[in-house]
């Protein structure tokens, strides 16, 4: 157990002490929650790339294959994501068409593009706008799950519209692929480590370090330092 840092302990000293602990070969166990500690999410770049590439491949069947088939009086009609949006437009339900268009088409594409840009920016050790890149990351993390809305709509229609031969809705493979795309991009966002964005930058200078009172209670939380 290392001793408590005194007031005179500098930032550098603390940093190097942490670094020496973390860079040792042994896995560090968090004394509070007993999980293994990592300074960065393990294998973050490779995992994120793998998940993203799988998502991109599945994005094709998600858009080409029908997501559901609606049948009236035995007359079946398959719907893809895009044709579903077009139908809503034709029916004059443009707020709904816009909602589904954004949730099912704009957000997944935007998410793929942003994550790829972030990965490339780290692979090329780019230094531009780290704060904006971190914000982009938070945006993808926050917004991604809402793409699931179309999958849920299909589920509800399949449940409610079951009138035998008269009218019925059945789910199709496009829905499965699309759900997989959403889940994979959610996992991809989760395995990406935004700290890598900042690792390529020079060390920041901290102002007013010494003015703070240092006797505050432990405020650091387990899931900040620790990843799975």
């Amino acid at each position: 157990m290392s001793s408590l840092p005194t007031r005179q302990t500098t930032n550098d000293e603390i940093n190097s002490r942490i670094a020496s602990e973390i860079n040792s070969d042994d896995d560090l166990i968090c004394p509070c929650c007993k999980s293994i500690m990592h300074s960065r999410k393990p294998n973050s770049l490779n995992r994120t790339w793998a998940l993203l590439i799988t998502a991109m491949i599945l994005y094709i069947p998600a858009n080409v294959l029908p997501i559901m088939a609606v049948s009236f009086w035995g007359d079946g009609q398959p719907d893809t994501i895009l044709s579903g949006v077009m139908q809503l437009l034709k029916a004059g339900l443009w707020p709904l068409a816009l909602l589904i268009f954004v949730a099912s088409i704009v957000i997944p594409v935007l998410k793929l593009i942003i994550l790829i840009l972030l990965l490339v920016s780290i692979n090329t050790k780019a230094q531009w706008h780290p704060k904006d890149r971190t914000k982009l990351y938070r945006f993808t993390e926050f917004v991604g799950r809402w793409s699931m809305v179309d999958v849920f709509v299909i589920a509800i229609l399949v449940t409610l519209v079951q009138f035998g031969n008269t009218a019925s809705v059945s789910p199709d493979l496009g829905a499965l692929s699309f759900a997989a795309v959403v889940i994979l991009t959610m996992f991809a966002a989760n395995s990406f480590d935004p700290r890598l964005i900042w690792d390529n930058l020079p060390e920041p200078e901290l102002a007013d370090e010494s003015e703070q009172e240092d006797d505050s209670v432990i405020e650091m939380n387990g899931d900040r330092l620790v990843e799975k």
Binding site: S35, L99, T134, L157, F163, D214
Partner: protein, 213 residues
């Protein structure tokens, strides 16, 4: 593997979870939020009665969860038939339609994870209130934090509204009791996660461990 003495440093430092900047832990007045000085990430908050309020919202949410699962949220009347939809029958209908994976996805995101969030939060916060922790506290809380994004009831609610508009032209759509319970459940869950400051739990847990070596 070895245990480490890191927390000695953690008494007065906090590392940003987004950019890893190590900074002095500020002391917050009630209602204040600490942001990272470099990337604006929220470090932690200090809310009034955080534990009591989140516990109250979790228990309220559990009651609405039970009601929401007991009754249909929508029914469809057409051609003299009535078709009802409950949360569980929605997952089940995907199984029946030959899409078991989608059925599982729906079951996890609309039934299981919201339930584990509610029960887990109640379990953890009761321990915090009594200041008695056991070996499962930390793993359970970590599980709750990591499954937080997978409860998707609010997205399901949006899907209900979309379906309502889509079906409105073709058939009579009847609101079920669950729909109202649903809205209140989502409200409880939102208020719960908004008033819960994870730091409070970790701090109490850690202080408790420090007291009894």
């Amino acid at each position: 593997m070895k245990e480490t003495g890191l927390p000695a440093i953690a008494f007065n430092r906090i590392a940003c979870h987004d950019c890893d900047l190590l900074q002095t832990t500020p002391r917050l007045a009630v209602g204040e939020v600490a942001y990272c000085m470099r990337c604006d990430a929220v470090l932690f908050t200090n809310q009034k009665n955080s534990v009591d309020r989140s516990l109250a919202f979790a228990i309220t949410g559990l009651l609405f969860y039970i009601i929401a699962n007991m009754f249909p949220f929508l029914s469809l009347k057409a051609l003299g038939f009535v078709q009802e939809g409950t949360l569980f029958s929605t997952s089940l209908s995907l199984f029946k339609a030959g899409m078991p994976l989608l059925g599982i996805l729906l079951f996890l995101t609309t039934i299981l994870f919201p339930l584990t969030t509610l029960l887990g939060t109640i379990y953890i916060l009761m321990q915090v209130k009594r200041d008695k922790f056991n070996d499962y506290t930390a793993p359970v809380f970590r599980f709750l934090r990591s499954t937080d994004t997978w409860g998707m009831l609010e997205i399901f609610m949006l899907a209900v509204i979309v379906s309502l508009v889509k079906l409105g032209d073709y058939a009579d759509v009847v609101f079920g009791i669950s729909l109202y319970a649903f809205i209140l459940l989502i409200l409880s869950l939102t208020l719960m996660s908004h008033s819960l400051n994870p730091q409070d739990v970790w701090t109490r847990l850690r202080n408790n461990m420090a007291d009894q070596p």
